[in-house]
Symmetry: C2
Subunit: 353 residues, 2 copies
DNA sequence: CTGAAAGCGCTTACAG
DNA sequence: CTGAAAGCGCTTACAG
């Protein structure tokens, strides 16, 4: 029987493409049983499972994701919906999601968005309705939008939100505790003896901005200090607004001796504003940022800032998304606490290091 | 006839999900004809097309991508395969691709990779074989790898490469002309009167590194200068290597008065090295970077650098991928020429601005 | 220019 | 624990 055992009868795949039918035939079971093995159904006898798995391995078969997606009525895509303006934040988050997606057969698809776009909700609805992704991950600030979450629920699309405060059930949420980060920044500056301390927070639209500020006020209060309205400004988490807000603050008749800015990008802006006015960091003004982006260790002097493990955050959000309630219960409360990184942009008021 | 015209007979979609069958019934044609309209086949009478389109519009029908992917034997995904270490580069490229993908029904999926990984080729092969993406876009340096391109051809996966030199047919390539960028940097420094000029190039693995260096040498030659081996270093396109290489150069008995570094990241490293040795930029040493990342306008003094329109590059690569030979011919040669951005980190040798 | 049949490669729902 | 039938929503190949 010359090559009689190879690709007999049923095989239609001329191109060597192995399908579930080939596996079924080779393992002497129905394709439904192969399907059960693929999907880890417990309803398969152990020796049957082993036999099928052996054939799968030997033939190098991988189930066609397009066919599965059609039959499952759901694709193997995980969407990342984001509006964060920081490239470093975005890339780190992507990496974290990708880490957790590895070997799961899922793909990461990008869905940047813009909260000021009136079509935002329609776009998101269209995306999840058409693509039927396995789920989506929402990062700040879009993650704090209740309308978006509501649409996802309507469309029956699983999601996990990354946010600074409790905005959802714990199995749909990874918390960043920005409140604690702000408090650390305040404690650091206050313990260095500063009393006239300014704050440039992010847009009110971002809960993170609100949280960082609230935590900052709480930290100051521990030292008997309060955040003065005249020493508070609202920036847009951008370099330019950082420059402008810092410029205003440093031009006051009685300027602050320290400034905490809501993110590194704005803090670098403060560096430039200080320099433009001939002020030295940290001799004349202490500066604290937030995020610990690479830029914080590129500027001179190296910036004191608050670090948040964005990549880990992305990984955890993804495992939560794919694992669901079950994973959340098994894992318990996951905490991503911000950490103060003290470098060279802050020093004690009286001049000591 | 109470609600007799609504959803009669054939409709199985309980959930209001409209399918090609509904459209066919409503428009009084076969589903094949609807399919032709969806796919812009010319084999449809104009009035038939209009009638079908009207029904599609009225019903809000969008064809199911999963079903189309299965029937087409190809998904509506565009992969971005990249190994570039710069977040800003990556994010800009993604944006450019996303720009061009908008309203085409295609999704962007991320495939980061690592050239030092021995499984690289297998991973890429597995990805394109399993997912059957509509195509992939390769960015430097992975775009310069002939083995990867060969695998893509074997697997019959369309691709477009972004590279600094001609590595492929013009309909599969978007050129960045890094050679010209290097030349501009050289002309700038030489015309400022510098003669003792150093260069820190990127890894030899990157053609871009080679091209920038070659262009730089050519530019110097126009002024009768040559790049001295003792003033040349190889970095890894990272901040740390920038610091180290610049430190070495600035420590020479007869140090250079200007340095051109292969990217902004390393150039910022040179800022730090200079500062650590008490040297001022540009008074004591002129510095030129490459890429014009946001960091170039965040550091102090603002950095002179070479700009390349990464986002546009990504968009063009995508249109080329989706449009193919036809688009390439219609569009003609597309040029992305680097542009020198003169800021404050360079000045003439005799002290003039 | 149009359509009926078969098929893409899986899974669901139903039986046994 | 296992399987035969029907179906997911499209397109291809073939007729007319």
């Amino acid at each position: 029987m010359p090559n009689g055992t190879e690709k007999p009868g049923l095989t239609r795949s001329v191109e060597g493409k192995v399908t579930i039918n080939d596996i079924a035939r080779l393992a002497n079971v129905s394709k439904k049983t192969v399907s059960r093995v693929i999907n880890n159904s417990p309803l398969v006898r152990e020796d049957t499972r082993r036999r099928v798995q052996a054939v799968i391995k030997r033939s190098g078969f991988t189930p066609d994701p397009r066919a599965r997606a059609l039959a499952f009525r759901r694709s193997f895509l995980v969407g990342m919906i984001y509006d964060n303006p920081s490239p470093q934040y975005v890339v780190n988050m992507q990496r974290g999601i990708l880490d957790a997606l590895e070997d799961t057969g899922h793909l990461l698809v990008l869905q940047p968005c813009d909260r000021s776009n009136p079509d935002l909700l329609d776009q998101i609805r269209a995306f999840v309705r058409e693509q039927k992704p396995k789920g989506v991950i929402l990062t700040p600030s879009i993650s704090e939008d209740e309308e978006v979450a509501e649409i996802l629920r309507q469309e029956d699309c699983p999601y996990v939100r990354i946010a600074s405060v409790a905005v959802d059930d714990s199995d749909k949420l990874v918390r960043t505790h920005d409140h604690d980060g702000g408090r650390e920044a305040a404690r650091h500056l206050a313990s260095l003896g500063h009393t006239r301390i300014a704050h440039v927070h992010g847009p009110e639209l971002f809960r993170s901005a609100h949280e960082r500020r609230r935590g900052f006020e709480e930290g100051l209060a521990e030292f008997g200090l309060t955040l003065l309205p005249e020493l508070t400004r609202e920036g847009a988490y951008t370099f330019d607004t950082g420059v402008e807000c810092a410029r205003e603050l440093l031009s006051l008749d009685n300027p602050p001796t320290a400034i905490f800015l809501g993110n590194d990008e704005m803090a670098v802006g403060a560096y430039h504003a200080a320099r433009a006015q001939g002020l030295r960091i940290p001799e004349d003004i202490s500066v604290v940022g937030y995020d610990d982006t690479p830029m914080a260790s590129r500027v001179w002097p190296l910036m004191t800032t608050v670090r948040i493990a964005i990549r880990d955050l992305g990984g955890e959000a993804t495992r939560l998304l794919l694992g669901g309630r079950e994973y959340a219960d098994a894992k318990g409360e996951v905490d991503f606490s911000p950490e103060l990184i003290v470098r060279a942009s802050t020093r004690s008021l009286n001049g000591a290091a």
